[in-house]
Amino acid sequence: MSWLDLFSAVCLIAGAVSCLFGAIGLLTFPDVAARLQAATKPQTLGLVLILLGSAVHLEVRYASGLILVGLFQAITAPVLAQLVGRAAYRAGSVRRDTLDADHLARRIEHERGRTL
């Protein structure tokens, strides 16, 4: 077993554990916005680690394609989270009783008061 194998094993296992945490969060968190954190973000780290773990065993020209996978994951996940989160908030799927502070509600209230 070489150092490369060890590195690859550590990356793959850490990536899988990260995805597992995401799945646990998905089950235990109370509302859409919190679950969104668990569903999208640990997966990003998990995916990057798994890609890294497999890339070190591939030829360079095959491994280079994996850069794109990681990059697009890192660019698109936040956009997706924002869109889903925003829609969930507007649809009332974010539980207000879990929030300590909610500046957005104050703002929307304020705007409604002004337009009416």
């Binding site: 990260s18 646990i24 235990t28 968190f29 916005a33 668990a38 973000k41 300590d100 909610d102 703002r107």
Partner: protein, 203 residues
């Protein structure tokens, strides 16, 4: 109302201006980075690096830019490779730390988790910087930008695992990201703006 001269100047200081239709060559030159990026993606997708693939990459890139024109906005982004590298490293580190934090919340608190939605007003006023800051904030678990008020430079950030001092902590984190992003790609003037703001915050 307002005479056109000051409004024009105001636009320029914001660092963005619409590319004029009257200068087709200038417009084509400004699209070159986009073409280069598309060719790079094409090469990475094929995994073969030879002139033939590059040629067809250019053909496809030109077609893509031709048929799906992006909004013609140019911005004076200054790339600082060292600072950009720091930003990427910091993003990676933050990804690891925050994943641990969210995992802790998921296992220990679970359904009793607390959160906050905090309004943060950014210092700089630029479409690109704001998009990059929002993306940086949203990449790591725990925080994400729920809503952006572009006109007033306000980000509404949803933060998981917030406590008593959540509002202040989230505000500091987001402004910290803004500082790093501006140091990596902002203009000199914007760098001075965030640094001045940072000094006044610290004391």
């Amino acid at each position: 109302m307002v005479d056109p001269e000051p409004r024009h100047r105001q636009r320029r200081t914001r660092g963005e201006h619409v590319v004029s239709r009257r200068y087709p060559i200038g417009r084509a030159v400004r699209r070159l980075p986009m073409l280069g990026w598309l060719v790079l993606v094409w090469l990475l997708l094929w995994g073969t690096y030879d002139p033939g693939t590059a040629f067809f990459g250019i053909v496809v890139g030109v077609l893509v830019i031709w048929f799906f024109p992006a909004p013609p906005i140019a911005t004076d982004i200054r790339l600082r490779p060292l600072r950009l590298g720091q930003l990427v490293l910091f993003l990676a580190w933050d990804l690891v730390v925050s994943t641990g934090r969210v995992a802790f919340e998921a296992i220990v608190r679970g359904p009793r988790v607390r959160a906050s939605i905090v309004a943060v007003t950014l210092v700089t006023d630029s479409d690109h910087l704001m998009a990059m800051v929002a993306n940086a904030v949203s990449l790591a678990p725990g925080n994400f930008v729920l809503q952006i008020d572009r006109a007033n430079r306000i980000c509404y950030v949803y933060a998981l695992g917030a406590g008593e001092h959540a509002t202040e902590r989230v505000r500091r984190e987001v402004l910290g990201w803004e500082r790093r992003v501006v140091h990596a790609v902002g203009t000199g003037e914007q760098v001075r703006m965030v640094d001045r703001n940072h000094r006044s915050e610290v004391g």
